[in-house]
């Protein structure tokens, strides 16, 4: 797959001397959905702002669709749509007018049919003549998305699109992202919600303290780190793992009551049936059984802590 955004050695030190990005390298593939995960202040917005030309990089370079954002800034920017983190909208403007304005800024002629289509895809078709201050927060966010889509960008940056959005609207947003991907738009979204990245991304990048700690296919990341565990709680503690259970590579908890079995999530032969039969065969009595999946959350927390250490 060819890459559409190429970030290399990108560094950003703000005027006060704070370094928000340390030499970030990132290649975004055409047509993918990339989720950037990171805690508050990790540098996600700074990265996006720099690619979009809102902040000047201190070092490194960025190309979008092969165009350097400094040399060929016009061509590069034409390809980009940006939905900012903050809801920046003029309260007294009408929805239709503000969307029309955004399209004009990109040098494109008026196209009411397209505007109507974009508004409809965001369920805003009945709000075209409404003043923005009369909209709910979720609708305002969708207006921002409409503004970013109305020049038909090839790459869309969504900076925390679902922050402060209710569950239903979040699902709608995910659907929209899916639909955009089907149209061939490359999407980069930032989020604090791991389940969001898990639900919609093709690849996941983790940023912390201005460094890209990891970037990997979601499936591979889940397979590599996404083991499942079954914890067996025994009615009576054991001093050691019984001989009949040696094959299963179990770990025994300190109090001797818990045995933990780790297996491949979604694997065909999990070995659970054999294990439970062996437990019974060893004469052990079960008090409880619990299974856990190491979620992206844990992976993420683990990574961020490693980074901090």
């Amino acid at each position: 797959m060819s890459s559409i955004v190429n970030v290399s050695g990108l560094g950003k030190t703000y005027e006060g001397g704070f370094t928000a990005l340390h030499s970030v390298d990132l290649e975004i593939r055409e047509g993918e959905i990339l989720a950037l995960l990171g805690p508050n202040g990790a540098g996600k917005t700074t990265l996006i702002s720099t690619i979009c030309g809102l902040t000047n990089a201190t070092s490194g370079s960025v190309t979008v669709g092969g165009f350097d954002i400094r040399e060929d800034w016009r061509a590069a920017r034409r390809l980009i749509g940006l939905v900012p983190q903050e809801i920046n909208l003029e309260p007294f403007e009408k929805v239709g007018n503000t969307v029309r304005f955004s399209r004009g800024l990109f040098g494109l002629p008026r196209d009411e049919a397209l505007i109507d289509r974009v508004l409809k895809s965001l369920s805003l078709d009945d709000k075209k003549d409404e003043r923005i201050r009369h909209l709910s927060g979720g609708m305002k966010r969708r207006v921002l998305i409409a503004k970013a889509l109305v020049h038909e960008p090839r790459v869309l940056f969504l900076d925390e699109p679902t922050a402060g959005v209710d569950v239903e609207l979040r699902r709608d947003m995910w659907e929209l992202v899916d639909q955009l991907r089907a149209d061939g738009v490359t999407i980069i979204l930032t989020t604090h919600y791991i389940e969001e990245a898990e639900a919609i991304a093709d690849r996941i990048g983790v940023i912390n303290k201005g460094e890209l700690l990891l970037i990997e296919d979601k499936a591979a990341l889940m397979a590599r780190l996404g083991k499942k565990q079954m914890v067996i709680e025994l009615a009576e503690p054991v001093d050691a793992i019984p001989a009949g259970l040696m094959d299963f590579d179990l770990t025994r908890s300190d109090d001797g009551r818990g045995l933990t079995y780790t297996y491949e999530a979604g694997g065909k032969r999990t070995g659970i049936t054999r294990l439970l039969a062996a437990v019974q065969g060893a004469g052990l009595v079960l008090a409880d059984v619990e299974t856990k999946q190491s979620s992206l959350e844990e992976i993420f927390v683990g990574l961020v802590h490693e980074g901090a250490a």
Partner: protein, 253 residues
């Protein structure tokens, strides 16, 4: 050139103006009418002719310049300050628009509004005084040039200002006194020599003087100098704006 982009900004700004057209027009027209009543009719009737024109007519160019200057600074300043203040400036800065195009859009709209108001005041003044415009084309040219240069200044102020107070402070503390001391309501030949010489450092003097020449064919300073002064002032503002966009001053962190 991204002409569609320029037009988009210009239209958007003009729409804001026409949404509140009544307030935008009524206040300057009303206040100038008051000037005419007080200075032109009440006090002016006791003042002899200046440079061969009645006092009422004499102050018309000054009043128009006064309003056009204030409107230019205010419109352009607010025009760029507001999107910066509420954050919508991001879309202009991340769009495929050059600095020149952004300035043409915002300053163009500010000039259009200010000149429109200036012309409305001119029309109003015909209701109060009897006069003829000696050089109408030059009058219009001068009006536009003045408005452009002060809209550029307003644009700079709008980018510089960090609050609405700051935005209003400079026009209030610096520009308004300069306008009043720039011979809007008198000829500087009426001043003692020291103040006459000091007035020559006031850029507004050249505007008022040049503009008055286009009405009555008489001026405090030669017209060519007035024209040069406006162009120099506009050039200075343009270089500041060029620096702002190159450095990202108060626009790009």
């Amino acid at each position: 050139m991204n002409w569609n982009g320029i037009t988009a900004i210009w239209r958007f700004e003009m729409a804001r103006f026409f949404r509140s057209i009544i307030q935008s027009m009524v206040s300057p027209v009303l206040s100038t009418s008051l000037y005419f009543v007080v200075f032109g009719a009440a006090i002016g009737s006791r003042i002899p002719q200046i440079e061969g024109v009645s006092y009422g007519a004499f102050i018309v160019p000054g009043l128009i310049i006064l309003t056009v200057l204030q409107q230019s600074i205010q419109n352009a300043g607010f025009g760029i300050y507001f999107p910066k203040f509420i954050g919508t400036i991001f879309e202009v800065l991340s769009a495929p628009l050059s600095a020149v195009e952004i300035v043409i859009g915002y300053v163009g709209a500010a000039v259009a509004k200010a000149v429109l108001i200036g012309l409305v005041i001119l029309i109003t003044s015909f209701a109060f005084v009897d006069m003829q415009i000696a050089h109408p084309v030059f009058m219009l040219l001068f009006l536009v040039l003045t408005s452009v240069s002060f809209s550029l200044l307003g644009f700079i102020l709008g980018i510089w200002a960090k609050s609405f107070e700051q935005l209003n402070l400079v026009p209030l503390l610096v520009v308004t006194p300069l306008i009043f001391l720039g011979g809007s309501f008198y000829s500087i030949t009426m001043l003692p020599p020291f103040w006459q010489n000091l007035s020559l450092f006031n850029p507004v003097l050249y505007l008022v003087s040049g503009f008055r020449w286009s009405f009555f064919g008489a001026a405090d300073v030669p017209v060519a100098i007035s024209l040069i002064a406006v162009l120099v002032f506009a050039g200075a503002c343009l270089s500041v704006i060029a620096w702002i966009f190159r450095s990202g001053y108060r626009l790009k962190p």
